[in-house]
Amino acid sequence: MRLWRHLVFALSSAWQSFWRNAAVSLAAVGTITLILALAGVNLLIGHTLGGILDQYKSRVSVISISIADGTPLSTVYDFEGQLQGDPRVSSVTLITKDEALAHFSADPQNADIARQIEGNPLAAKLEVHVASLADVAAIDAEARAWRGADPANPTDYQGEFISRMLRLSQWVDWAGLVVLGILMIVSVFIVMNTIRTAVYHRRQEIEVMKLVGATEWFVRGPFVIEGVLTGVLAASLALGALLLAYHPFVDRFHSDLFFIPLGYDPKFVAELARDVLIGGALLGALGSYIGVRRYVRV
């Protein structure tokens, strides 16, 4: 019951303090809204680029091993089994020479060449889906060392392209994290200074609280709640703006840059809403806690 009364006191004090200090509080909400909106845009861009990269990654994480003509079927099956047992490999598909020719001929672009082909010059193949792009090189090395591989053209592995892709993917991740980190630090500083202004305005009250025996957390509580309130309000506004802008942006992007596979992802929007709201609340709590820690010692 006592805890409940303390909570009620802290909530009402925080609410009063927020509005008593309205100009500073609203300025902080506005600035943090912009920062969280930027952070949200950063997350959206990261998610979109990540999606595009994932699509490319899934394409290049498949390597085709050409099987030399005359390789005994048992040797092929043995190697196929060996690859299937490898934890780095998600799946292996054997494409026979006939199937390879049928696929080739089925493509309308190859129609002219297909008509001129005599016999079947295409090699049988093992199509290997590697779980992680980072392991493709190792699987390629294994394939090249296999005695059944076509010595002229053992695999279609594009090492340089993949390593570039990996580097780009890492850069995108790091750049996103750095931008996010900077934005978060700036937000914490803004909340900290807003709360210090509130502490200054309420210094008399704080002094009396200390004199009559209030605990440190009783004095701090309303400021931390005020910080959370500032963070959550800013997060809600930022989220509203992001949600309003997301759909039209994707539509516009689609019409202007149709070759880039960008789509509206409702699952990501739900995750974004959760992250921005929790992020706003935590930033507010952290900023206000740091802001009052030194000034509200009993």
């Binding site: 009396v208 004199l211 009559v212 209030a214 440190e216």
Partner: protein, 248 residues
Amino acid sequence: MVLQADFVGARPLISFQHVWKRYPNGTEALRDVTLSVPEGDFLFLVGASGAGKSSLIRLLIREEKPSRGKIFVDGQELGRMKRRHLPHYRRKVGLVFQDFKLLPRLTVYENVAFALRVLGEPGGEIRRRSTEALETVGLAGKLEKYPRELSGGEQQRVAIARALVHQPRLIVADEPTGNLDPATGWEIMQLFLQINHQAKATVLMATHNRDIVDLLRRRVVAIDGGHIVRDDRAGGYHETLAASGLRA
């Protein structure tokens, strides 16, 4: 010079044992202070500005820690008290200041009730105890007034009611009549005497008001240059000056 109190038999509520206070800037505010205050005592702390009275009070309410020596209040050593226990200690001490320290946005009643609200006391208990404290100081008819609508004496009464609402065993007052005219100051002193007599609260009061000290003839502890230079059971302000050569 260190003077020992001569109250034999009574249990000391406050005990300073060879206490020194040196601030980081090198100022030595208290030097080897030994003082014993029995429960129920009424003590005036006198001395010129900068003599060490405020430092002694800051140590007593544990705003500061002694540099050397020990301070006991009700058997608890303040220097070793953990920060989390400080609020509980301060609830046992009623504090009254020269500038009243009232919250201007709160009414008389709310100012007093605030001291109980911060402890999370139930509403009924807050009402009962706040009203009772305000009746004791004679302000039962002014509960809804704001501090700005009251005279200086009335504001000090509110501050005393707020100090009393915890039913403390010790009242520490720092120049409580400093902002009041002599007649109002005398009324406030009557209130402190009444609290000391009826509620059996120990009162330690720092003051420059020589008329009051001379009239009441209570225990007087004089400080000069951080030392206790006189401790009289029924002293006067004047004798302090004569004996120690303190300035007025």
